[in-house]
């Protein structure tokens, strides 16, 4: 079973985690339905290194993981603050 390193709890079995898809900015609340539909239902499904939302379920802690979707290799995990500090567009 794969091991994932939670930024808060350290290395844990992957069964303790939930993946919630790619990190992408939320549209404005009054954005057109087409934009919200694309955000909700269309995934980029990138084959490569992506940033993803992950939840450590037992401690209800959300964080971000950088993962290579081709090899399922977890490059690194980081708190949301650390992700924002990377200079990416804040989600």
């Amino acid at each position: 079973m794969k091991i994932m390193t939670c930024p808060l709890n350290g290395p844990r079995n992957i069964s303790e985690f939930v993946c919630a898809g790619e990190v992408k900015p939320l549209p404005a609340p009054d954005a057109a339905p087409e934009i919200w539909a694309r955000h909700t239902y269309i995934e980029a499904n990138t084959a490569g290194v992506v940033f993803e939302w992950w939840l450590h379920a037992p401690s209800a802690y959300w964080f971000i993981a950088e993962r290579d979707t081709r090899t399922d290799r977890i490059v690194r995990t980081m708190s949301v603050d650390a992700f924002n500090a990377l200079g990416k567009a804040a989600p």
């Binding site: 794969k2 919630a20 609340p29 009054d30 919200w36 539909a37 939302w53 949301v80």
Partner: protein, 954 residues
């Protein structure tokens, strides 16, 4: 007549401990340390079982326990490998498999004669041609097919538990390389676990000084699979171990490969290594007069050792030239053995000739043929009488575990063998699996691997990189010697011959993975361990390509047959009780599941269910009732941005919600579908206490945390579902009951109006009291910290005695809320229902500028409502079951979501989705019952009961 050899042969045996056992109804005797197969072979038994398709007799082939030829039935357990099953006193009776009549004289063996009519793929073409054909054939095939016998009615062995293991270095394989690796790793200070599939005795690890005590050894243990991050599944007789090894050393050795020639499956034809195991480990002379056929040096060494053990060596056939045979050839010749270079086995014959399948015979002779570059077609040569043929067609690495982890097998033409490439980090190979075929090089290789693994596991940098793979001794491709009459087996498990592989390719299955599935090559018990090389060789020759171009098929766990009872283990079903659970049982409640929770459905005997529910409903409407609602979800949101945060999430507005007031909340997902509802209580300017549905609260909580991880508003969010217990005391007499309990909250209608919330103490218990209208009567939902839950129930029960207060359960509550037309999320809503379909328009005011799913809800409203949830009434005594269809002009327009008989409303009431055109009050609707009957109902206003909502506002 025994074929036993004296010591020092038979290192596994304890000769002063004889053990008796039964095979095929006959008594046999062996020693402690024997396997069933070795004891039988020593007693002269040659046929251990019969093959899958042609029922051909089979004996010992590999003596590893991984070929499918020696599978026997032991008592009730089928498919046990006899060459890995240690003799034990009191063993159940053992028998062969897959025969009718007797193992020795199988009445059903005639099927072998029809082999030419059962080519690869014949199942598909023969049994499915005509409709109705398969059920006819199926009955026959079921009786004849399969190997062992399973009797489900017999007692099952006790449930087993799984166990977790952790270590620095896990070594798989206790051969010379594995032992050296375990030793080296332990010497370096690592915690080591050593795993081997063989039982204790043949491994001989317990003899003094073999291994330090700190190395934990698992014998009769099979590593079935290697999963992500060095997660190993290890199966023993009693347990499935889940082992995490920081570093893993795979020292699993090789599998000797067979030669492919006519009748190469006869009992008496075995690998050179099998003969060596019989001689060294079990002290069994494998035969009286032997012919040894090899294409590599290890086989020649085996010939010498057979001579030493007293086996007459009639001839040695080496495909290679005299020069390639090397000095061992000279030793053999000087001991009077005829060595024929450039020869390979051509045809094996058994006692009984064509009738050999029907009689208890083994090998009697082998005919050799001249092969080689000069002889593209084999030139038949001498026939030699023998009862033992030891063959060695080369060695394939046992790299399955490495392949599970992502490595690949690639053919190396220089070494004429498969090599492991793309080995992931964290795994080392050691020994012959890596090409170190000599004992000395294997031991040195193991030592290096163990030291390196220990260093990596303990975080110290290893002293050096691994040495490159040692060059293998000279070997050739697996010899395939064609014969016009066929029966040259490529896959012994599946009875596949050279012709079958050729025909599979002729049928168009030229890709190796497709050919495997069409022919079933490599899909038997041995999973291709002894057939992959031959299959690839034949396929490559047929297709006219090099073997390395074809590649290999993907190896997946389990490594060998895995027992279901170990995988299943014991089941654990968690459940949750409320604080008041004990009281419900004492009151005679029938409990039901609400997710993991147990809740009272009603109080009374099962045969009085309908009456009990009616009684409870009546009590609430006319007196007072008490229900345990502790399972309700609870979330606290606190902080300066609390009101703003909640307003951004729910469809409802909260910025101006007064302190001390509650408000119904509705939560949608981004697709606009309702996912949760509840009540928001404003306990303070910056403090909200939210209730949610039992099943959705965890998801709602996670959603809130996720959104705030992005919004970064100044709030704390806490899931307090289990921290609070709650009851609902409801009915016209509710206030009168509460008045009997000391309370610092003014409960009068003016001081504490409908929909307000108060915090205080009730009977000394800290409470939050909500006036809610779910069941439509004067009611108080009282929340306490869970440690006080039982006390609260008892307090209210005592106070309610004078008012004949009755406990009521989930079933009664459903009827009561239905009479008020209240929607239950998940029952009256589905995965797509948006608020405006369900009549929850009031919860989505136009003034809201943001809530989850806003864009979707607005878009759906703009597109137009396609169905509406309405209340209906109908005649009759039996309510329609949930999900009955509502039809319009013969087409589906909706469905019934809730229905019940209501005393207060004098008939059957319910909620249903109907076409918008039918949603006007009074419209007739048609409901289709499960038996197909159509019944009429008509739309009525909601709520059915107390339409002015006067009773709950008392």
């Amino acid at each position: 007549m025994s074929d036993r050899l004296p010591p020092p042969y038979g290192s596994a045996l304890v000769r002063d401990r004889p053990i008796d056992f039964t095979f095929e109804g006959r008594r046999f005797s062996g020693y402690l340390g024997d396997t069933v197969a070795s004891a039988l072979w020593a007693a002269g038994v040659r046929t251990l079982s019969r093959s899958f398709k042609y029922k051909r007799p089979r004996g010992i082939l590999s003596a590893t326990g991984f070929d499918g030829g020696a599978l026997v039935q032991v008592g009730d357990e089928p498919n046990v490998p006899a060459d890995r099953l240690a003799l034990a006193p009191g063993m159940p009776p053992v028998s062969g498999q897959n025969y009718s009549g007797s193992l020795a004289h199988d009445r059903g063996a005639w099927v072998g004669w029809f082999g030419r009519f059962m080519p690869v793929g014949f199942y598909y073409r023969t049994f499915f041609r005509s409709p109705g054909g398969w059920p006819f054939y199926e009955r026959i095939i079921r009786r004849r097919a399969g190997l062992g016998r399973l009797t489900p009615s017999h007692a099952h062995p006790p449930r087993t538990d799984k166990q977790y293991l952790f270590c620095d270095v896990c070594v798989i394989g206790a051969g010379p390389a594995g032992l050296a690796a375990a030793q080296a790793a332990a010497d370096a200070g690592a915690e080591v676990i050593l795993v081997d599939a063989l039982p204790d005795a043949p491994l001989g690890l317990r003899s003094a000084g073999k291994l330090p005590d700190r190395v934990r050894v698992l014998t009769s243990a099979i590593a079935q699979g290697l999963y992500a991050d060095n997660w190993l599944a290890i199966e023993t007789e009693q347990r499935l171990y889940k082992l995490r090894g920081t570093q893993i050393v795979i020292a699993t050795g090789t599998f000797e490969q067979p030669m492919v020639f006519r009748n190469n499956d006869l009992p008496g034809v075995m690998f050179c290594s099998a003969a060596m195991r019989l001689v060294s480990l079990y002290g069994v002379r494998p035969g009286r007069r032997a012919v040894v056929c090899v294409n590599n040096g290890d086989g020649l060494e085996a010939a010498l050792r057979l001579l030493d053990a007293g086996v007459e060596l009639a001839a040695v056939a080496d495909i290679r030239s005299a020069a390639e045979s090397g000095p061992v050839r000279q030793q053999l010749v000087s001991r009077g053995v005829e060595v024929l270079n450039g020869y390979a086995p051509y045809e094996a014959t058994a006692y009984g000739g064509p009738l050999s399948s029907f009689v208890n015979g083994g090998l009697t002779a082998i005919r050799l043929a001249r092969v080689g570059a000069d002889h593209p077609h084999p030139l038949p040569g001498p026939t030699i009488a023998c009862d033992l043929l030891c063959m060695s067609g080369g060695f394939a690495p046992n790299a399955a575990l490495a392949c599970h982890a992502g490595a690949r097998l690639a053919y190396s033409p220089a070494q004429q063998r498969l090599a492991v490439v793309d080995l992931p980090a964290g795994i080392e190979l050691a020994g012959s699996v890596r090409g170190a075929m000599e004992v000395d090089t294997a031991v040195a290789d193991g030592r290096a691997a163990g030291a390196r693994a220990a260093a990596l596991a303990m975080g110290t940098p290893p002293s050096s990189a691994r040495a490159p793979e040692p060059p293998t001794g000279g070997s050739r491709d697996v010899p395939v010697v064609p014969h016009a009459s066929g029966k040259a087996f490529v896959d012994f498990d599946e009875d596949l011959t050279v012709a079958d592989i050729e025909n599979g390719i002729a049928d168009g299955f030229t890709h190796l993975e497709l050919l495997k599935r069409y022919s079933t090559a490599g899909m038997g018990p041995s999973q291709g361990k002894f057939s992959a090389s031959g299959t690839v060789r034949v396929a490559a020759e047929t297709l006219g390509v090099a073997a390395e171009e074809l590649g290999t098929t993907t190896l997946r766990p389990p490594f060998t047959g895995a027992r279901f009872r170990l995988l299943a283990g014991r089941g654990f079903s968690p459940y949750r009780y409320t604080a008041m659970h004990r009281r419900h049982i004492e009151l005679g409640a029938q409990m039901m599941n609400a997710g993991l929770w147990y809740r009272p459905a009603y109080y009374g005997k099962p045969e009085e269910q309908v009456e009990a529910i009616r009684r409870e409903v009546h009590a609430v409407r006319n007196g007072v009732g008490l229900i345990d609602v502790s399972t309700l979800g609870g979330i606290e949101v606190g902080g300066p941005d609390a009101a703003a945060f909640i307003s951004r999430i729910y469809t409802t507005p909260h910025l101006k919600q007064p302190v001390g007031r509650t408000r119904y909340v509705l939560l949608c997902d981004e697709g606009g579908a309702i996912v949760d509802d509840g009540v928001a209580c404003r306990l303070g300017e910056n403090r909200f206490y939210l209730t949610a549905t039992t099943s959705a609260v965890d998801q709602t909580y996670r959603k809130m945390l996720w959104l705030n991880a992005q919004w970064r508003m100044k709030i704390d969010i806490v899931n307090v579902t289990a921290a609070f217990s709650a009851v609902n005391i409801a009915g016209p007499k509710a206030r009168e009951v509460l008045a009997r309990i000391p309370c610092d909250i003014d409960l009068s209608a003016q001081a504490f109006p409908y929909l307000d919330v108060r915090v205080g103490t009730l009977g000394g218990l800290p409470v939050r009291m909500l006036r809610v209208g779910f069941v439509g009567e004067l009611g108080y939902e009282i929340h306490v910290p869970t440690p006080y839950g039982l006390a609260l129930w008892d307090l209210l029960t005592e106070a309610g005695r004078a008012s004949n207060m009755a406990p009521f359960g989930v079933e009664a509550q459903r009827v009561l809320r239905l009479e008020k037309g209240h929607v239950i999320v998940g029952q009256d809503t589905d995965g797509l229902t948006h608020p405006f379909e369900a009549g929850l328009d009031f919860a989505v005011p136009k003034s809201k500028t943001e809530y989850v799913g806003m864009a979707a809800v607005k878009a759906q409203v703009a597109r137009g409502i396609t169905r509406r949830l309405v209340g209906f009434k109908m005649a009759g005594a039996t309510p329609p079951p949930e999900c009955c269809l509502v039809l319009r002009d013969g087409r589906i327009a909706g469905r019934v979501t809730s229905a019940a008989h209501s005393d207060a409303c004098g008939g059957i009431i319910g909620l249903a989705y109907v076409a918008p055109e039918d949603s006007a009050i009074g419209s007739p609707i048609t409901i289709k019952l499960p038996d197909g009957h159509l019944v009429n109902a008509h739309v009525v206003p909601i709520p059915f009961y107390d339409p002015d909502h006067a009773r709950q506002a008392l």
